[in-house]
Symmetry: C2
Subunit: 331 residues, 2 copies
Amino acid sequence: MEDVAEVVGVSVNTVSRALNDKPDINSDTKKKILEAVEKLNYHPNRLARGLRRQKSGIIGVIVADIANPYFSTMVKGLEEEATERDYSIILQDTDEKYQNEVDAIETMMEERVDGIILSPVQTEAGTVERLKEQHIPFVLVARKFSDIPTDYVISDERGGAYHATKFLLEKGHEKVAFINGPVHNSSALDRLKGYRRAFAENGVEPDEDLITHGAVSTEDGSRFFKLLYEKETDFSAVFAFSDFVALGVLSAAHAKDIKIPDDLEVVGYDDIEFTNCMSTPLPSVKVPKREMGRRALDILLKRIEFKGKVEEYGGEERFEVKLPTEFLERS
Amino acid sequence: MEDVAEVVGVSVNTVSRALNDKPDINSDTKKKILEAVEKLNYHPNRLARGLRRQKSGIIGVIVADIANPYFSTMVKGLEEEATERDYSIILQDTDEKYQNEVDAIETMMEERVDGIILSPVQTEAGTVERLKEQHIPFVLVARKFSDIPTDYVISDERGGAYHATKFLLEKGHEKVAFINGPVHNSSALDRLKGYRRAFAENGVEPDEDLITHGAVSTEDGSRFFKLLYEKETDFSAVFAFSDFVALGVLSAAHAKDIKIPDDLEVVGYDDIEFTNCMSTPLPSVKVPKREMGRRALDILLKRIEFKGKVEEYGGEERFEVKLPTEFLERS
DNA sequence: ATCATTAACCTTACCGTTAACCTTACCGAA
DNA sequence: TTCGGTAAGGTTAACGGTAAGGTTAATGAT
């Protein structure tokens, strides 16, 4: 910046003002400065700016598994919105391990991020509590804690699961197995509620033995299906926690020569791109992943901008966004 | 830091020394300082550290589409390695648009990243030229420029395509259509070489009309397949640029009541998780995506550390890493 | 002619660290 | 005793910006 100032013959401060569209600057001078900036290929130093302004312009993003299209699509939305609004994002992946989440937040605090977007590993809630205590702006995405009030952006998991289950029940299946996600996971819990509601509405009780928890990966899907199948073959449909889990089910079913959808009907969740292209397409629940990312970032920036004004609302106002899901029948 | 210094009764410099494992510090003092750091919940400011050290500790990562598992898995590897080595990563997505790449690099220079990992949009090479000119450490991943020497980490695309094509030829297919990626894309070019080599080795010339370029998405796969099918039905197998493209082919074929693999045999590329789980699994080429990310970061850090010593090797030494691929037959 | 106003700058200090250099007390050797 | 060496610190300046407040010359009103 000093070089630019020297070339133009002004002080560094004037250069700073020119670059930040501040008042008190002649438009001719400004033009000259911008030209010099261009010619010298000058790039303002965001570290220095951040240090002085006490605002890094960086948002921390912590997800459970970036390799999963569910999260990576969300991150895509986040990144788009961030770039549009001149923020950078720092990414960390927890691999669903709580300790990694703790470490990630530590790093982000040192990095002086202006706020955090978090998809929490939900085995413990300590990190979220700490973020609250320390008044670091943050927004949860995809997952929430029902007993801790925070800003969050989720999708209508209950509704999605409800429609998926209802679809199967209406097709005449009475025994619908549910291979659900981990019990601590809020998505899994909400989907279970939707599943139960669909049954309740039909005046039937679901068979509790057909409800299992803990499936995440494709392998889990295969494993859980085999276990269910071996001890209780009395079900004609499976509602899987995710498309990946559903794929595991399909794969295991295929190995056992079970015909889809005649012998067994399977429904997934998340609408991962490919599930539509299979020879027997997998019905699934479409989740607005990208939009979730965008919204979360938007809310976070609101929090950051109005940080001082939180008291105006008694510090109690929350952004609790639930975006609609859509069941895709794929007949 | 000042607070910590005051509590312990030393100067800030001593605190700094304690935190950076520098010499000239008494171990008792150090212990006291670390305790105070803990108690006060002090987090060193990386902005200030970066400013002073002229090293941000941040790596810029630019990919073409983070929502694509190919890239997101790579990023997972990158992130793992970066976290292990105490670097943070800033992520930007170009959406395969060159202008976004230009902007992304601009941002990263302002952010004073210590180096850049780039999967270039290859419609233009200006950004890479500029990175070279400005001596910014960078490593290309997944894609390279054959006419511009740089560090890069890619996979053996030629070999992968060769084996995939050979597989089809050996099964008796003489007419193998190739629905390839964009012509400017180095992966596509290398895969084409592999495709040709397999033919050459068989003493056959591929039918040039069966080679098409420009497919990326599932929709492209469907579209290109339909076009090929309409004007020339004389092929019994398709080698697709990616699993996504292959899915599009399968989907379109299914719509035309073409039986897989009896009427048409399809092979994909990338080994995206799900392709193994379909009722007729899709043969594909396994690419060590995660490993590519890790290696690229490792090389970048070497460059960063030895920045001053490049001259020792005449500034000419390059890291040109080609990781092995593996054809998955999935019989 | 005098003074207040204002546009357009300049000066200074500071953001939180760390590199480089200086200080002090103590110890053993000459 | 005097001196050099060393361990364990302290002091200062600088990294590259920006906020806050001061300066200057021109302008206009009185």
